[in-house]
């Protein structure tokens, strides 16, 4: 499923659609979010550098690592960063609050300063200025093209007022809906914030990937040996749960496992017996949600009221208004009110009509599929 996320980030946004947004979230029980972020960053950077993605440039907002460490990471994955044309970095790590400038007593505290390789933000609390810097960098990289940026959520290194955290979801929303943004992804440590803050970020996202421990257990209830075993098991890997929101509103949940290796994370597809989780959100119940073959055949024989019956008799159509039809002559008919109407004749011209055309014979009569799902409206 991690490959699907990579493809989605690579393919970017459709015309008229918002950019795909990925939220990566982890917790102290499985604190490997940074490694997962590196995995998707390197994959995306590789595609951008080779011109295989929709985005032509990548704007990286570095909050908890220095820009040089990101460059070393990309170099270690054999990604060419010698030319910075496709890569722009906003350094929110080196001096996010302007302390360096205060210590050296030089210049103003607010704003950004430009270095040779990347832009240094010296007041990350000014969220609007930061947004402008990001968008301007992207526009400068590819004029009137698609730009892309991939920020880290600045949660655990900088003092940020509460209202700032709340503004972040709006900030990301602004980025997602910006016309020139191809995709966006960020990392958040879920246990450092209120659940509503994390939820607001998830609402903005089209993809939510959470890194969770292999075994959930209350630490308070574990003995020391159990706690040590739990720590050993979860320090080498965990579960990678992904929730996708499709354009038509359908939500899909996938689950993979990951192993922590020296070079990064290795994703493993879970065995097929657990694949039911990957197919549907439907809970496991003791009654059948699917039709048997006989039930399917019986349902096919049912003539629905809006279908043309064409045998010359009155067509009974439920109109939902009249309690009992005057023409009703079936003594056994009780319950739903039915009205009768004849096949359309010349005398009926000028009256309201509803024409129904089935898209194909393969379509189920009671299908809940959105017929316009394949249209880019």
């Amino acid at each position: 499923m991690s490959d699907s996320i990579c493809r989605s980030l690579r393919d970017g946004a459709l015309d008229g659609e918002h950019a795909p947004a990925l939220t990566l979230k982890d917790s102290l029980d499985s604190p490997f979010g940074a490694r997962a972020f590196d995995h998707f960053l390197c994959n995306l950077a590789s595609n951008v550098s080779l011109g295989r993605s929709q985005a032509k440039s990548l704007v990286l907002v570095a909050f908890d690592r220095s820009p040089s460490s990101y460059l070393e990471l990309l170099k270690s994955r054999e990604i060419d960063v010698s030319s910075h044309d496709w890569l722009r970095i906003v350094d929110c790590y080196s001096d996010p609050l302007g302390w360096q400038e205060r210590i050296s007593n030089s210049g103003s505290v607010n704003g950004t300063s430009l270095k040779t390789d990347w832009t240094v933000a010296t007041d990350v609390r000014d969220i609007y200025k930061l947004l402008n810097v990001i968008v301007d960098l992207g526009k400068g990289a590819v004029e009137l093209g698609k730009v892309r940026f991939s920020p880290r959520f600045p949660d655990h290194r900088c003092h940020l007022p509460i209202q700032f955290i709340s503004m972040l979801s709006l900030f990301f929303l602004s980025v997602v809906i910006a016309d020139q943004v191809s995709c966006v992804f960020w990392l958040v440590h879920s246990d450092l914030h209120e659940s509503k803050t994390v939820a607001s970020l998830e609402y903005v996202s089209t993809m939510v990937a959470s890194l969770e421990p292999r075994i959930h257990h209350a630490k308070e209830e574990m003995s020391h040996s159990e706690n040590l075993l739990w720590l050993q098991q979860n320090s080498s890997g965990g579960k990678f749960n992904v929730r996708l929101k499709r354009r038509n509103g359908r939500v899909k949940v996938f689950c993979e496992e990951f192993l922590v290796e020296k070079v990064g994370l290795k994703f493993i597809v879970v065995p097929s017996e657990n694949a039911i989780v990957n197919q549907t959100l439907a809970p496991k119940v003791q009654f059948n949600l699917q039709l048997s073959e006989k039930e399917r055949q019986d349902r096919a024989k049912v003539v629905l009221p809006f279908e043309h019956q064409g045998n010359g008799e009155d067509i009974r159509i439920y109109d939902g208004r009249r309690s009992l039809s005057k023409e009703q002559d079936d003594p056994h008919m009780v319950g739903p009110a039915m009205s009768s109407t004849r096949l359309q004749t010349d005398s009926d011209r000028g009256r309201g009509e509803i024409h129904y055309f089935r898209d194909s014979d393969e379509e189920q009569l009671d299908s809940d599929e959105d017929p316009d799902d394949d249209l880019d409206i």
Binding site: L28, D95, I103, H189, L192, L231, Q233, S235, V260, E261
Partner: protein, 257 residues
């Protein structure tokens, strides 16, 4: 003076691993102090077995005389290290913190960071310094006094200290108490520092109760060296320790003769 942990210290140090530019967090409890780990790391920084390193020590809980006495028992003279510019001791016990720090953006911590950065720059310029620069903070929770309880200001300070680890290859070693954070809101500082740490060392009492031969246990999670650690399949190690007058014994459970 004889140092008894010459052979056993390898156990702790090999589990921790080597290299600069890392964050090491020592968590202890009121039943089991983790100060001896700081003393161990302080002494090993000046050990002749390793490249000569520089230590910038931020002391918030004890005066210099305390560290000097213990280090002498471990075979290390801190006064000489200070004279040789290999130890920068920042005594924060006498620090004055007037007013509400939350209103003036806490100049105290800005100044403290300025002192640390200045010491790092001096150390980096020394020709004979071919080792690492270690920044040690003893202990972290007392920084809340300087910030008048503002956790955010401490996190800002730690962020700037962390920039020294990536920019100049300094290591950051911190001691913090685990059991003084009772609820989720209080744990924010501890949780964020745990995210920050590359190595987490927890000093805990024995689960089986008090013992004359074993003073407690250390659980070490080295997050940084996957695939390199020989001692633990999952980079999580657990072993016992015994603090003695002039050293510390580290040993795996059941291996004490």
């Amino acid at each position: 003076m004889k140092v008894d942990d010459n052979s056993e210290k390898n156990l702790l140090e090999e589990v921790i691993g080597g290299g600069g530019g890392r964050v090491i967090l020592v968590e202890d409890r009121v039943e089991t102090s983790g100060s001896f780990v700081l003393h161990h790391l302080l002494k090993s920084s000046f050990s002749s077995d390793s490249p000569p390193s520089v230590v910038i020590f931020v002391a918030l809980s004890r005066p210099f005389s305390h560290y000097h006495r213990i280090s002498k028992k471990l075979g290390c003279n801190l006064l000489i290290q200070k004279e040789n510019n290999r130890l920068f001791f920042l005594d924060m016990l006498k620090l004055q913190c007037p007013g509400d720090a939350r209103n003036n953006d806490n100049n105290v911590l800005v100044e403290l960071f300025g002192k640390i950065q200045n010491a790092v720059e001096i150390s980096s310029s020394l020709e004979y310094n071919k080792g690492y620069i270690n920044i040690m903070i003893d202990e972290l929770s007392l920084l809340e006094i300087t910030t008048h309880g503002s956790v955010d200001e401490i996190l800002n300070f730690l962020h700037y200290c962390h920039t020294l680890t990536s920019g100049l290859g300094c290591s950051l070693v911190m001691l913090n108490h685990e059991d003084i954070y009772s609820d989720a809101l209080d744990r924010r500082l501890l949780s964020q520092v745990e995210y920050l740490a590359d190595v987490v060392i927890k000093a805990e009492p024995l689960a089986t109760g008090l013992s004359a031969d074993v003073h407690g246990q250390l659980t070490v999670w080295n997050k940084g060296n996957y695939g390199e650690n020989r001692h633990s399949r999952n980079n999580v190690s657990n072993f016992h320790f015994k603090v003695k007058e002039n050293g510390v014994d580290y040993f795996y459970p059941g291996s004490l003769a």
